[in-house]
């Protein structure tokens, strides 16, 4: 039972991280119908920024709480800056081209960012400081759950609530929903579509940065390649839930997290990624619109 609980909570943690990234995918897809392949790299850049900031601040002699807050803020700021710049360079000029062009451009961006960090930093794994404090309350349960896992699950939950409020009640949230429904119509009724797209990238990038810092601090090491795999997994989760659907992305992430956790726990850990990809292939074959997605009839 303990083992089951451990796997369950491990899956929940994984799922939370996937959700933070998957939301960025699903929101961008909802607004501009683009699979932002480079979204995982934004998460990786967030983690790297946090690592660099934390190291510099540590040498400068700041305390752990200050470091955590500043590193997190800087990671978010930089991830957003990269996300918006990427949109302006690689996607905006392609808004009226064929469907494949932006996807190829996104793959290019992803390769570029990986190698940018590889060349400017290092190809080795870097140890990531454990920024998240240890909770003494949890000590007796250490064999089931770690405090960093609690932090991840709680933070993700908080971010989800904030996001829901933002989309439901703010002006920009309403503009985003309108743009997702019909971009031309939204433009006609006075929605600044460029601003909406920028905001979508900012929100998505922020969540990816939070995810990046949390997971890096949980696992304790990062390299330039972490974004690629995480990105593919999060995309899988988004598709699983029905791409374009926000609750779908969360549900899909949790299902994927548990699948991986239980499959590696009870079957074999060698094939962790095979389970994820195999799952993706199966879902797309049997339910192309995802768990919460709607099948659309193409207009002729």
């Amino acid at each position: 039972m303990d083992y089951f609980l451990e796997l369950f909570l491990g899956g929940l943690t994984r799922g939370s991280i996937y959700a933070l990234i998957a939301l960025g995918y699903t929101m961008v897809y909802g607004i501009i119908e683009l699979i932002n392949f480079a979204h995982g790299e934004i998460y990786m850049i967030g983690a790297f920024t946090a690592l660099i900031a934390a190291s510099v601040l540590n040498i400068m002699g700041f305390g752990p709480v200050t470091i955590l807050i500043l590193a997190m803020v800087l990671a978010i700021v930089y991830s957003c800056a990269y996300g918006v710049t990427m949109e302006k360079i690689a996607y905006k000029p392609l808004r009226h081209s064929t469907r494949l062009a932006p996807l190829i451009s996104a793959i290019g961006m992803s390769i570029f960012f990986q190698n940018y960090v590889l060349l400017a930093q290092t190809s080795d794994f870097l140890p990531f400081p454990s920024l998240l404090p240890e909770l003494e309350i949890l000590e007796p349960y250490a064999y089931i759950i770690r405090s960093s896992e609690v932090f991840i699950i709680l933070t993700t939950f908080g971010v989800m609530v904030l996001l829901t409020l933002l989309i439901k009640f703010t002006r920009i949230g309403k503009a985003m929903r309108a743009t997702a429904q019909d971009r031309t119509m939204a433009m006609l009724v006075g929605v600044d579509v460029n601003r909406v797209i920028s905001m979508t990238f900012i929100i998505g990038s922020s969540m990816a940065a939070i995810g990046g810092v949390l997971i890096a601090s949980h696992i304790g090491q990062i390299n330039f390649y972490i974004g690629f795999i995480a990105g593919i997994k999060a995309f899988t989760a988004a598709v699983l839930g029905g791409i374009g659907s926000i609750p779908g992305a969360v549900l899909g992430s949790l299902v994927l997290g548990w699948t991986e956790s239980f499959a590696t726990g009870y079957i074999s850990s060698d094939y962790e990624d095979v389970f994820a990809f195999g799952f993706l292939v199966l879902i797309l074959i049997f339910r192309p619109a995802g768990l919460l997605g709607k099948a659309t009839t193409q207009k002729v």
Partner: protein, 412 residues
Amino acid sequence: MWKFFSLDEIKKSLLMALWFIFLTFPIMVIRVNPIYNVVEWRWQNMALVGAGAFFLSFLWRYFLEYKNPAPSKPADDAAVSRSGRFSELLRSSGTRRLAIGAAVILALAFPYLFSSYQVNIMTTALIYVVLGLGLNIVVGLAGLLDLGYVAFYAVGAYSYALLNLHFGLSFWICLPIGAALAALFGILLGFPVLRLRGDYLAIVTLGFGEIIRLVLENWNDFSKGPSGIAGIPRPGIPGIEMSLNASSVFLYFLMIALALFTIMVVSRLRNSRIGRAWIALREDEIACQAMGVDKTKTKLTAFALGATWAGMGGVMFAAKTTFINPASFTFLESAIILSIVVLGGMGSIIGVIASAFILILLPEYLRAFSEYRMLIFGAVLVIMMVFRPQGLISNVRQTYRFKGLQENKEGD
């Protein structure tokens, strides 16, 4: 052109420079070593980024304007002739014959003019020509974005390596078997996924590519895992002993033959009933079906045929390196082959050949740049999509002449 140097434009570029200095500051300037707690500050990078962003932003705006001229200017005709000139040159039969003649002589004389090191590089480039042309069927002609093409390459390479290891089968038997197995995998994957929409298909093929690689990496009993398979024999002619040098020259000529065969097949397919159906499917799936083309069958043919060439390329690769392991078949390999197709121009044969040589040979000869190779691949994909999505050589279609037609159309 001159308006790009007005005060306003300089201000824009300065802002860009500042933005990129800010953007790249943590990653380009600071390098930390968390083990020894040392921080290295590389201020020279900041200057580099600033200057680079300043000048590149001029170029960026200039080319964007060049690509989308303001609607008031009647620049449309100019745009047509500009992009058309190179294609026209290629089409005129005189220059074409001359170019082909020169290429044949150079290709034949190459192993006798250059060292075996150069010959090996050339063989590699030719493998990529074949891979590029094969993927060109899938992506360029049929418009199916396949991000897992490397899986079929791996199938080919491992078929030869394993069949040789366990059953001692020779290269000559394994070449068709590798091709057939890759085609089989193409059909097995294609059957369920080809009804997916374009971008979903891309991700599923990517997933499939990764699955194949991960299985090869982890299934030690079958594939010997990450340590790979060594001692794969090079191809030879039964009864003739060949030195290492001679066998690499032999492989080179074999690769030339395979490349020529590929070119012939692809160019004939392109202007055939089935090739036209691929292109029509790429252009408009619904209209194509409504005109009586069986979507599933046509897509499956493209997929399987593309995979066949990857399979042959894989067998060749295994024979050339005599050692393979899963690390040769990562997603980046798929991305390189895709770049070849995109850079060359989707559907263009000469374009794909040219870009395979550019993308494979340039990093080999510019050793100083070789570590920037992947960075440049990434940038090239983005830049091509933004400025010239049609590739080096844009879509050229066969023209026909008719007796009744009095207009003087230039020949094909």
